[in-house]
Amino acid sequence: MEAAVTTLLNALTLIGILSLVGLGLTISFGLMNVTNLAHGEFLTVGAYAVYFTQSFGGSYWLGLVTAPLAAAIVGCALEWLILRHLYEKPIAAILATWGASLVIQQSLELVFGLGGKPVLPPVQGALDLSVAAYPAYRILLICIAAIALGLVLVLVRRTSFGLDIRTVIQNRTMAEAVGINTRRVYAIAFAFGAGVAGLAGALVSPLTTVLPQMGVGYLANAFFVVIVGGAGSVAGLIAGSTFIGGLTSVLNYQMSPSLVQAIVLLVAILIVRVRPNGLLSTAGALR
């Protein structure tokens, strides 16, 4: 019972993080057809933002607000400087974003120096859940991730900007013809995805050491999530995260992490073989 609850909470932690990181990818990869290999760096930037804030004596909470802003600014710059020129050249975009990823990593190393940086969690200790004790910060993380995803869903489905995004994604030319500034919508949607990845970075920062390369590992998993779940759908994103995060957490309890990665990848390949458009695909409409 205790093991089951712990595994479930571990899974929820991972699912929450993967969903937040995957959101930006589902927007850029699923909807704009851009393979952004610098997406992991948005998470890294978010984590560094928390470290930076704390190094000036700021609280974790201030860092949590700063992180998505910092990542969104980096995302905005990447879109404006590089990606907007390459929407028609997807292969060039892969190379360009890979280069950008290296530049961001090296810049972080130049500014903050070598080695891992510590981030202090806002709450310490464990919470007694009667059947099991679980770190309080991780429970907080699960709640924040769930709230953030809920807000994303409301934004996409219920707001006028969400409608603009869904419209541009379905038919960019026609969206422009009805009076939507599609360049602006692309830029904002991209920066938004980057910001949410930055939030994920802030959330994981107390659980790990903050390193310039920390985003790389999340990038691969986030791509699995988007491809398995079905690119371009928020429901697919959550389904994909649940699958990848759930499987990883359950297997992690039984065997070594590298074997787990291999098995998860294998199962992901099998799923995509059976359902090429992912578990829940909505074919080009963010829902």
Binding site: D164, T167, Q170, E176, A177, V178, G179, G284
Partner: protein, 233 residues
């Protein structure tokens, strides 16, 4: 209202329009005729801002819109209903119309969606249905309704009768005529269906090889010999 002088445009390196001039006044319906490949659709897409203008001028009232991007032309009052209608199939009817109101941003404050629903009661009944599930005729109605939500001054219609049952074609022709008259919209129409043209348009322009080669009142086009000569039907 819409004045086009000597415009040239095309796709990448291939010029299609070689100096087209025309004007459409408020409340007037003008039809563009011509064989396939004459440049009719290219002309509408250029006027809508989808293709860049390589020379000449496009003016809307007194505003020069030659160089501005498509979304700003839409906001200036040029609505485009393209071939294939371009509705957003994965949005509901209501959402399609809401997106249509974006073209009125900065120019008109009132939301005319209720008024548009009065004109198209069928759309109100199905406001929560996904637009992609509609038949061709309903989609065409929706595309026109969406254009009206932007309160346009000029409406560019590309083959509104394409793929639509004959009894609905008649309805749409009457609707276009009525909208132009009631709302003072200048309508420029590309159409292969002569019944539609004879019913709705007051003037016709004939295009060939990227130029306008003949202009006349619609009544003149009831003469079959002339039609054959101009359109090589």
């Amino acid at each position: 209202m819409l004045v086009v002088s000597n415009i040239r445009a095309g796709y990448d390196q291939i010029p299609v329009l070689h100096g087209v001039a025309l004007s459409v006044t408020a409340g007037e319906v003008v039809a563009l005729l011509g064989r396939n490949g004459a440049g009719k659709t290219t002309l509408l897409r250029t006027l809508a801002g989808e293709l860049p203008v390589r020379g000449g001028l496009v003016r809307l009232d007194s505003q020069d819109v030659t160089k501005i991007r498509a979304y700003r032309r839409a906001r200036a009052g040029i609505a485009h209903v393209p071939q294939g209608r371009g509705i957003f199939g994965r949005l509901t009817v209501e959402e399609n119309l809401e997106v249509g109101t974006r073209a009125a941003i900065g120019r008109r404050k009132a939301d005319v969606r209720d008024e548009v629903y009065e004109i198209f009661p069928v759309l109100r009944e199905r406001r929560n249905q996904l637009a992609g599930t509609f038949s061709g005729g309903q989609q065409q109605m929706l595309a026109i309704a969406r254009a009206l939500c932007g309160q346009p001054k000029v409406l560019l219609l590309d083959e509104p009768s394409e793929g639509i049952q004959p009894n609905i074609v008649q309805q749409i022709a009457e609707l276009v005529l009525k909208l132009a008259a009631d709302k003072g919209i200048a309508v420029l129409l590309v159409e292969q269906n002569l019944e539609f043209v004879l019913h709705a348009a007051s003037r016709c322009l004939v295009m060939d090889k990227g130029r306008i080669v003949h202009t006349g009142l619609t009544t003149e086009f009831r003469n079959e010999a002339l039609l054959k000569e101009l359109l090589a039907l």
